[in-house]
Symmetry: C2
Subunit: 238 residues, 2 copies
Amino acid sequence: MSNPKVMRGPPGNRLLAALPRGEYQRLQRKLEMVDLTFGKILYNAGDPITHVHFPNDSIVSLLSVVAERSTLEVGIVGNEGMAGLSVFMGVDISRNRALVQGGGTAMRMRADALRSESNQLGALHRLLHRYSHSLLTQISQSAACNRFHTVDARLARWMLMTHDRMGTDKFQLTQDFMSNMLGVRREGVSKAASELQKKKLIHYTRGVITVLNREGLEKAACKCYQIIKDESESFLGA
Amino acid sequence: MSNPKVMRGPPGNRLLAALPRGEYQRLQRKLEMVDLTFGKILYNAGDPITHVHFPNDSIVSLLSVVAERSTLEVGIVGNEGMAGLSVFMGVDISRNRALVQGGGTAMRMRADALRSESNQLGALHRLLHRYSHSLLTQISQSAACNRFHTVDARLARWMLMTHDRMGTDKFQLTQDFMSNMLGVRREGVSKAASELQKKKLIHYTRGVITVLNREGLEKAACKCYQIIKDESESFLGA
DNA sequence: CCCGCTCAGTGCGCTAGCGCACAGACGCCA
DNA sequence: TGGCGTCTGTGCGCTAGCGCACTGAGCGGG
């Protein structure tokens, strides 16, 4: 079940890395490195959120759960962000589910610690604000995307977003899993994935996806990908 | 074109009303009452946001625009909230469009004024944080709703959310307009609306909707309505 | 080595919703 | 009062995606 990884780019959490040194050092004492294993549920709808997580090379999916077999990924959190943003907003119960979509490490912090740290108007506060905006944009855009675009285009978009956060060209994900992310049938993913494979954009076997042609994938995806990507990059840049 | 209104409940903005007296009085000097006419676009995707708006009896729709005829309402703002939340998050450009869906009055404030006011850790700051969470929940839930539920159920949900914010049982909205909100064809709205009319839940003629049986509408809607409603009420209550 | 489990591929009938085209109803205004 | 623009209802053919059922391929454990 372990994920074969070839590192690509720095492994740490970029949101934390964007903090000025002094503030980061103060925070560091409250941060704890943890392993997130694939499939772990960090919190469920209605659960109190005890910790927030800053992924390093792990990925967390935010799911809206309408029924047990009807789930939709509304947001995706990698090393550019933080899972458990509700805590920052003063609410420690979320209506979503946070699920580990890619195993790896993350820095975690107790919810009350984050609350007191972010209660000061420092760089962390400012960054989390801008991250909130980025996430809001991501959720809005993918809501519209899910409404208007075909499964093929959405799958390509989703793979790109995952690829960006994975740090490797090869990752383990079953069609069944992806069907829960895109909110479609497993068979629909099968069809869309083999379409992408036919075009030599990806290679696919028994839960192992390899990205072969990233530019091609970007062409196959709707432009929603670029909009979301731009927003998410700009908040760390500026 | 004016909207026949019978007042139901207090007309002012409830988010502002939840502020402690002192803070409200300080804010008041920067607030200005404006008329929002139906159809006005407060800002478009990519536009700088010059003012934020706290609706009184007006309603603002937040739309994600994929193509000119492909729009989807991702959020709805009435007297419980504020349009232009991005400003609070330190970003004065949004990827959405804000469109006046129900004419009426609103309190508006210059973006820079809001920024400096909410840069202090007071009640406004705390309220806007919780409102952000509420909006995030609303967007997530309706994203899933749009994916899984029928047009009929979604129309009922949407009418309830509108009704809550309208302060009257009768309001002017064409099917064409609603089709842009739900991201479906106008004909689809026609079918769904006449279904609701057949059940005597609403009455409908030439752009004038009358809610006849609210409990019935709630039964016809998916439970997404209640989830969103609960979240949005709780943030003002607590 | 084979059994059983997990994943992926496929075919079939069905439905919701799309796109288009047109008709009828209402209301406003000259 | 007549004409025109706006709004709604409806019919028709089409497609994407659903639900179901089953096959087959790989993989791991007894």
